[in-house]
Symmetry: C2
Subunit: 382 residues, 2 copies
């Protein structure tokens, strides 16, 4: 289901021989209408892959008929030849479906710096276009790289449906989004309204996921609306349903992060501003020493304070409380309960940082730094 749960969508996932490991590697999602409204957000990394450069042009008019995605190669820093591959892919989709190439989004994921074989991609597009149907599950598998499982989410609104799929296991840090995500819905909303809802939803979900601090060159979150339900929802109500799908997918990404043995939820409370809370949470999420300590089930709160001291957020380092899995180990910048009371053996870790400086809150999702993370990422290209 996933991207084919909402009315008006068809999808396919096929094997085109792009992935060395084999398996499905080209996904196609088609919006059959009656509307073709869409919004998308992209990585804020200045080093952008060819499909990002292409898709940013496509989304400009808010009209999208289809999105084609491949694993097995990021098509990033592949020069003019690489851009031609993206362009030709969109044209092949357009021809097969009888739509404009300018209404076809393209996403790629895999190794940076390698050319995609155009002939295989085009054969994949043909096969996908010929096999369109209720194949959201195949599509969600075709975009996997180091993911151990597909990520899918569906929520039912008041007379309408929002469904999505995501991939991502490494280079997981916020740019705008940090992975490939396609969300479909059958609501009747304009592209401008979809854009507002999508930016709000990603800001509080994918933007708050920082698994390894490494921002990707290929991130894209696309939202396609068919209008096939005939329902024109209240924008805030739709936004809440969309946000649930985004957060569900973000948590699935966190749970499948490369090599991770802990899912760490960093909740920063009583900050002066939400930005301060995000900055403080992210400084901890990016601190290798803290992340390695969690891998070792070591409640090393000193590393939390060392990390947040590098930020510009408003707080007094000597008036901060830190709790781990419910045990307050630091109060007002001094030791509180003994570390030995903290049980870090569960996969899920709750870190609570009370800045005692205001009333704003933010939650950052991250993972620990493990032997397996190092192993997987030292061997990825080979």
């Amino acid at each position: 289901m996933s991207v084919t749960a909402a009315k008006g969508f068809e999808a396919a996932g096929v094997e085109a021989g792009l992935k060395a490991s084999g398996g499905l590697d080209v996904a196609l999602v088609v919006n059959r209408g009656p509307l073709a409204n869409a919004a998308a957000v992209f990585t804020s990394n200045r080093s952008k892959a060819n499909p990002i450069i292409w898709s940013q042009q496509v989304i400009a008019d808010g009209t999208v008929s289809a999105i084609v995605l491949n694993s097995g190669g990021a098509n990033c820093f592949t020069g003019q030849q690489g851009f031609q591959v993206t362009h030709s892919t969109a044209e092949a989709v357009a021809e097969a479906l009888g739509v404009s190439a300018g209404d076809v989004l393209v996403c790629s994921t895999g190794l940076i710096g390698d050319q995609l074989p155009l002939d295989k991609v085009l054969a994949g597009v043909s096969a996908a276009a010929a096999g369109l149907g209720d194949h959201g599950d195949d599509a969600s598998r075709a975009i996997m790289t180091t993911d151990s499982k597909p990520k899918r989410s569906i929520r039912i609104g008041n007379g309408y449906t929002v469904g999505g799929m995501a991939k991502g296991a490494g280079m997981l840090a916020p740019g705008l989004a940090t992975m490939l995500v396609v969300i479909t819905t059958d609501v009747v909303l304009s592209s401008a309204e979809l854009d507002i809802a999508l930016r709000r939803a990603t800001r509080a979900s994918f933007d708050r996921l920082d698994s390894d601090g490494c921002m990707s060159t290929n991130d894209q979150v696309s939202l396609l609306a068919s209008g096939a339900s005939g329902v024109e929802p209240d924008l805030d109500a739709f936004g809440a349903v969309l946000a649930e799908v985004c957060l569900d997918l973000a948590e699935q990404l966190q749970g499948d992060a490369e090599g991770a043995s802990h899912d760490i939820r960093i909740e920063v409370v009583n900050a002066l501003t939400e930005d301060d809370a995000v900055e403080v949470g992210r400084s901890v999420a990016r601190n290798n020493l803290f992340k390695a300590a969690i891998f070792g089930n070591d409640p090393n709160w000193g590393r939390v304070l060392a990390a947040i001291g590098t930020t510009d957020a408003a707080f007094d380092p000597y008036d901060v409380d830190v709790s781990m899995n419910g045990v307050r180990v630091c109060h007002a910048g001094a030791p509180d309960r003994p570390r030995t009371e903290v049980d870090l053996t569960p996969r899920r870790v709750e870190l609570l940082i009370d800045l005692r400086s205001g009333s704003e809150t933010a939650t950052i999702l991250t993972n620990d730094l493990t032997h397996d993370y190092v192993h997987e990422n030292s061997a990825y290209a080979s």
Copy 2:
């Protein structure tokens, strides 16, 4: 030798029982004059340890008679009790030497959040004061934590000497400095002149070392001048000698970084400004995916471009050249020589990033991300 190479200095390193692993853990360096001029730079982390808070007051008047350092505990986030330990330590040194406590710098290193046992520290101070002599080597061993070897450096100027010792293996990232360093010299220079020379030297050495992106709470670099040589050198000439000592120590710190299997030298050339070059170099030094790739001897230049794309530096990501160990693997944002030509088996790795945007240069020193780094830092507190 190290800190006792210059005329006018005595030192000691003793075992006070602070380190669980045993061994020397209290160091004392005394300036016998005739001058007692000094300068110091400190971590820019807002989460500062008690000895940093103390030493920043001591250095304010530019007069330092002695510096006492301990391993076995950072005395950071240890509350009022912790500050009293630092204060009492300085007073004990002052009493033993017949100087003012306000002229005694204090440095601590070890785990954050644990109290130092005052009785053991004071016994260590007594033993060190009683054993002062030409014991710079003992002093350099007494400040080691996870260091596998002491770091020492000596340079001879025109009629004067500059000698130093350093410790540091983890939490190695630039604040101002990123470790404990004591440098002594027998020149005749004012505290203000020493301050100028020290800031210049650290800016191009310790500040350019970023092993693991984690800024410490206890970093301090102190420069003590006795004037015992009677030589009043040209400030620039002295600065050059001092810079050599600082860079030598910084490279020793890099070479002994926790768990590292590669010393990576990131040279950024043709930047519009020096700040741009530093920002670009540091973004690569902090990219876990790049660092893990180097551990795996994988010349994954795509991760370099993904990292630098997150900066605000002036350059076009599609007009950048990247070379690894002399092989240009990326030219103008597209693949150049094959990755297979790059040999990453030596410990030393040279990464050259040509931004083609100006004429400024900066070099950042870092290390790879290894299984041993994760292991050592997941087990440090236990």
